[in-house]
Symmetry: C2
């Protein structure tokens, strides 16, 4: 990536891309409909604000605009910057490509111009939004989907992949339809399920919420996501989601019928099917480092809830020379002790347990 790179849209993702590329020495220019947003992005080091009348000839234009305006901004960029590869980074891909193809069909965009467009989707984000929350490392170790279309110029596809790799991401190649179906299932559908679940808590009595455990916390965490962005994502990927939600509705109807007559013949079998299909689906999600889920052994330790306790514990783990694959703290409201669950390679768990027990840690077996 030699640059210059023009980033159109300096929200969280646009500013993070600018920041990451600037740190690599790329000449990054920024533009955003909000003068404040582009200045904040410049202030944090994401690049320089594009001056009016600046005769820039970017190698790459990154369209980091919201999904509902992304296609229009891409089309504009393809027309204005004749030599540039233009990518967008919206969470939906087919509707944007379709809109650009419509522009070509209607003569608003040249077929040759469309060749320089490549849709992409970095699978990264955080709970905060806006340029002030940007981080150059946002894409580190995350998948970045690159969706070449039928007429994409191979050189443009290469540039799109390069920017992802430069920012530390892993390139995944899918076409737009495959991408939209995949994220509908692994990202948009879980968002809907979590929001539907959490919305049932709006009028829950306080004594019920006081019994909440990690199960409820985990299943509803993403229900805290930003509505503004998600409205656009969900509406742009509506057809894929409708297919999945029809399947959910069928399952839900069957489950309600079963629970309305829980003593009827076959009711227990129906419930067994729900649970075991859930088991089977969950087991297919890849774990860290591509390992199958539950491939790690869990060693659990009771700790006091005071400064340094967990550090002392993990220092001991480090002394044992054992790598933590994952770590989880369990606690419930109103308590000053907690459980630390450490995932390690199965072959190391007995060794770790012995090591910690000898050092007087309360290891639960």
């Amino acid at each position: 990536m030699s640059g210059p790179v023009l980033v159109l849209g300096t929200g969280l993702l646009g500013a993070s891309i600018g920041l990451g590329l600037s740190r690599l020495g790329v000449d990054v220019r920024l533009s955003d409909p909000s003068p404040t947003a582009q200045l904040v992005a410049q202030d944090i080091g994401a690049g320089r604000v594009l001056a009016p009348g600046d005769a820039l000839e970017p190698q790459l234009v990154v369209v980091a605009a919201p999904p509902d305006v992304a296609a229009a901004v891409v089309a504009d960029a393809l027309r204005v910057y004749a030599g540039a590869t233009v990518i967008d980074i919206a969470s939906v891909k087919a509707s944007i490509l379709r809109s650009l193809q419509d522009d070509v069909a209607a003569g608003r965009l040249g077929a040759e111009q469309l060749r320089r467009y490549v849709g992409t989707h970095p699978m990264a984000g955080r709970e905060k939004s806006g340029p002030a929350a940007a981080r150059g490392e946002l894409f580190t170790a995350m998948p970045w989907v690159v969706c070449a279309h039928e007429t994409s110029d191979p050189a443009a596809v290469r540039v799109a992949g390069d920017v992802a790799i430069d920012l530390g991401a892993t390139v995944v190649r899918l076409d737009a339809a495959e991408h939209d179906a995949a994220v509908a299932l692994v990202s948009h559908f879980p968002q809907i399920a979590s929001s539907l679940l959490a919305s049932r808590l709006m009028n829950a009595p306080a004594h019920a919420l006081a019994l909440a455990g990690n199960g409820l916390r985990d299943t509803t965490r993403i229900a805290a996501s930003d509505p503004k962005l998600w409205i656009q994502i969900l509406s742009h990927n509506a057809p894929e989601l409708v297919t999945i939600l029809h399947g959910l509705r069928e399952d839900l109807n069957r489950l309600i019928a079963t629970l309305e007559a829980p003593d009827a013949e076959g009711a227990h079998l129906d419930l067994a099917e729900l649970m075991s299909q859930g088991n089977a689906g969950q087991a297919r999600i890849p774990g860290k480092h591509g390992a199958p889920p539950q491939a790690f052994a869990v060693v659990t330790v009771i700790v006091d809830d005071r400064p340094g306790q967990i550090a002392e514990l993990l220092t001991a783990v480090g002394e044992a020379g054992i790598n933590l694959e994952d770590l989880r703290m369990e606690h419930s409201s109103g308590h000053q002790v907690g459980l630390v669950e450490m995932s390690v390679l199965p072959g190391r768990s007995a060794e770790l347990t012995e090591f910690l027990t000898q050092r007087k840690w309360k290891v639960i077996q």
Copy 2:
């Protein structure tokens, strides 16, 4: 708790209760339909197997049998052990109480005998089952619901509360109906939602699953739960669940209609409502130490994925004298670096960031 205590059923929870009480010096006797299970429980120190013909006069009988046989075992214990308080620990309470009241109405159980029964529910568990997975600390810092009924003897209610407190739990008093409605919402419904969600992944293409992030992992984690136990829980709490699921079905039908015509007037408003109601429900779940959710500041650090890295980091946090309220590791498949997100009191985050940055940790701001 002076004892002796008789534990009927030596699965994970029964054996854990036996283990915890035995460590406190209580004389615990064990009985289980499975000779192996009761021997394993004895071997791990949960108590002594009840000898046939042993004329035990327990102060307390803990019925730790599965929900579908709990009522029968409680009734039996009330008849056999004339002086004992009898509690059960099943995850559903109204159906068991109703069954015992039916026994009284039919003359199979004395009204006086029922006075010694108190339904309880320790909100604890783990991903493994069986006596070998038992731990005496399982109930530490967890809520333990005690459900007195209309005719409960106050002395029996006291004994039930004492055992919970002895095992380190926090006693929550609710009646059986309140309990069942509460756990339907905060425990059983999330289980159903997670299982329904995960079951959609059964036939997902591998390239879609490879894009899975923490959102999908969190929402589907409990879908890995044991079907056998959950079939009983769900069927015993069916009426409460049906009410909640009807609400879900209404929301789902509205959402499907909206997504089938995503460009219709009002569609965006409908999606905004789904998302913001999810926000509102999620925000009501109490956090650690009863703190409101998101009351903590998050400091994020990039670490290499090798032994001792996280220990070194947390040693630094300990040196700063700052208490970790929560810790989360973020990673995706195929990578050797990760992000560690540490939750601390908001007043300490700037201090921690400065402290770590000075020590050359890569803190993301």
